[in-house]
Amino acid sequence: MTHAIHTLRVLIAISLFVMVLEICARLDDYISYRAPILDTYSSASLYENDQFGKRGRPFAQYRKWQLNELGYRGPRIDKDRIPIVIFGASETFGLYESEGKEYPRQLERELNTCTGKPIYQVINVAYPGQTLSTATRRVPEIVARIHPMMALIYASPTFYIDFPLRRSSALPVQAEKLPAFEFRIGERLQNVAKSLLPEYVQTGIRSWQIQRSIGSKSPMERLPQEALNYLAEDLTEMVITLRAYCVEPALVTHATIFGAVSRSPNRAMLVAWRKFYPTLQEDGFLDLEMRANRTIREVAVQQQVALVDIAGELPGDRKYFADFVHFTDAGAALMAKDLAAGVEPLLRRWSNYSDNATSSSTSCNSGSAATR
């Protein structure tokens, strides 16, 4: 009897232990982010679906990520400023940077510092996982809501590894459904366990996961040219659409932690990257980046679009990249500085031109944008 009571007490103690850990996690979320204590709290709450797939939910907030009234990351739209939009995916949306340090925010500060007045507002219209084709389909809506003067396009070439799935004819990326309940302590434990494991162990686990994912299929050594042709097509379509709405596009090449020329790339980092796209071998990623940036440059020349060649400017360094492609605060600052240096002269030139041209550009689809 005594033994049974003791066992029961131990079980109660263990249950209490787990329960208190979960309560601590929920209280911590509440104190730090004013997160609901009882409801589900997940990054999925940031998004909803419309006819084009995943989009930001207006005024949604999850941890440091705060969306504005239009569902874009960043502050409310200031109608007194000249809007510049940035299309992209998670690198642009910002994953690892502190609040307000994602590169679109820092670019806005840089541009306004250059002019000496808060003239510009840079609006981050990117979402994690957003493809170029989805972004292109959202252009009319964005132009109607924001009337941007200029659009920067920072495409993620790796989306084209799964190129048949990412084409416009395919289904767009959908927002995940909110889980009914989840242990918030679980994610924290997973992160701590991850940080405690030495890098070689993590790389071993990732390699095993990659192998399991591809099974007996042989991975591609190199991405076929067909995929990069799709990238060129999507970029061209985006440029044409933006121009049709009188928004000046500018293309930006893609930067990675491996830098412009990587003679001895970090294998562990390549494996970590490949985990998301197991069908391409590690060295294929470096080749893809090089060819994708060449494609971006070619499209810029063909379409006579401004190009900010960031890929050669950002040094491949842990200081600037939190992982293979996502920026740290310092990386986002450097990106913003380089972008501002490339964009600011264009903005000055275009705004002078627009002032002189007044409302003569009647061929534009958006009247408001045309007068700018």
Binding site: R9, A13, L16, F17, V20, I31, V192
Partner: protein, 460 residues
């Protein structure tokens, strides 16, 4: 990785019966641990150990003043070169000089004072005959090499030579000690960072331009506890880790914030350093002359050296002088009470003495933490301005956090005082609730303390 290293070393050490074998393993592990902070740091430590060992042997043979002075000069010069020269050079010629970029080997202030105490003990003809291996182990001993506690060879040497098997209760006590230390360090980080980003003590000090009087009190109390949790927590970990390796270290903190006078406070705060200063600086100085003023001057001077040990900066001279003056004032008050035959005893006196001591000791931390003399004096000026108390600027949750942790600390120590010292931590509450407390502790240690923030005392 360090925890794994400690565990492996302790398992090996407990299975080696040979005294020399144990010492070699401990020295190898300690050197490896220290070298992981910077291989050339180990070079400096080993070099200092060898020179001090040779000087020690000489002093043991002929305990004369010139040899001792040579030993002191060597250690002070070494510390001066690495610790004070960069600051002085950068003040004079700026950051461009090579000397201003000299990096202080981590823990150098601690192990240099250990070497000095060895030489001074030998000069006082204490019976110390360490082998080179034992002396190097004393200097490099992993749990203490980074940030103390500052050990003395007479306490360590017999333990290096003795084999004491680790009992289950001993291992449990050591693990609890390490856990408690980690929890305290977690709380220190929580105070520093705050409940919400930018709502901590660190931000309070870094933006100390427009503070209200109540904010300054909050920062003084908050930082006092941040430093206490940080350093006392670290000391718990060091003592726990050392006991897993078969070495019992002296306590470094003994409830300093429960002290009723500044004199008592300094026998309970960073005890290994305060007793070092007392034995090797204050007592020799105070006994040089018999006059009362000289004893007071010796007190102030000792406290200035205490301050300078931390950092060669004007703020630390002021900090040392402030505490020296407090100690002198306390002595004068005691003398006055004696002369007037005035006695004030009872609960009211205890409460008043405690509150006054707690307040003045915490206010002293402003000099310790402020970014410069100007900021520190500005904070004291704010304290004295009644108008400044109208509108606090620091976040309410910081007030809540500091109050909760201070009250929680005093409540826990009061309740713990009811149980005997050998019982496990929190043994006075039922098992189920104890597990809930462990969960809170685990959360704070693992998920809150995991935020990168340096251990405050590592900079000294």
């Amino acid at each position: 990785m360090y925890a794994l290293g400690l565990l492996c070393t302790s398992v090996v050490v407990w299975h080696v019966r040979s005294q020399r074998g144990r010492q070699i393993i401990l020295l190898g592990a300690s050197c490896g641990f220290y070298a992981s902070w910077g291989p050339w740091f180990l070079g400096a430590l080993v070099g200092s150990s060898l020179v001090n060992y040779v000087l020690g042997r000489q002093i043991r043979r002929t305990p004369t003043r010139p040899w001792l002075l040579l030993g002191i000069a060597f250690n002070v010069a070494l510390l001066g070169f690495f610790k004070y020269l960069p600051g002085i050079v950068s003040q004079i010629v700026g950051q461009t000089s090579t000397f201003s970029r000299i990096v202080l080997p981590v823990g150098m202030s601690f192990w240099t004072f250990q070497a000095l105490s060895y030489l001074l003990d030998l000069y006082r003809e204490k019976e110390l005959d360490p082998t080179l291996l034992e002396f190097c182990l004393y200097m490099t001993f992993a749990p203490t090499v980074l940030s103390g506690p500052i050990c003395r060879l007479p306490d360590m040497l017999p333990q290096f030579r003795e084999y004491r098997p680790l009992t289950r209760a001993g291992a449990q006590a050591a693990a609890q000690r390490i856990g408690l230390g980690a929890l305290m360090m977690g709380l220190a980080q929580l105070l520093g960072a705050g409940l919400r980003p930018g709502h901590g003590i660190n931000n309070g000090f870094d933006g100390a331009g427009m503070l209200a009087g109540s904010d300054v009190w909050l920062l003084a109390f908050g930082y006092g506890f941040q430093l206490f949790f940080d350093f006392a927590g670290y000391s718990h970990i060091a003592i726990g880790a050392a006991s897993l390796l078969g070495i019992r270290l002296a306590e470094n903190f003994d409830g300093p914030y429960r002290s009723m006078s500044p004199s008592v406070f300094w026998t309970r705060w960073h005890m290994s350093l305060s007793s070092w200063i007392r034995d090797y600086v204050f007592l020799p100085l105070a006994t040089m002359r018999r006059e009362m003023w000289w004893r007071h001057a010796a007190l102030v001077l000792s406290m200035i050296i205490f301050g300078l040990w931390h950092k060669g900066a004007p703020l630390f001279v002021i900090w040392g002088t402030y505490h020296g003056i407090l100690l002198v004032l306390h002595r004068l008050w005691q003398r006055l009470q004696h002369d007037l035959n005035f006695r004030w005893e009872g609960t009211a006196q205890s409460a008043f003495s405690w509150a006054l001591t707690f307040a003045v000791m915490c206010l002293g931390w402003i000099f310790f933490r402020a970014s410069g003399v100007k900021q520190a004096l500005g904070m004291f000026a704010t304290l004295l301005s009644l108008a400044s108390y109208v509108r606090p600027v620091l976040p309410t949750d910081l007030y809540f956090l500091v109050a909760t942790l201070i009250l929680g600390y005093f409540a826990t120590t009061a309740l713990s005082a009811r149980t005997d010292a050998e019982s496990p931590v929190l043994s006075w509450i039922p098992m189920e609730l104890r597990y809930a407390c462990y969960a809170v502790a685990l959360y704070l240690i693992v998920f809150r303390a995991a935020q990168p923030q340096a251990f405050i005392y590592s900079q000294f």
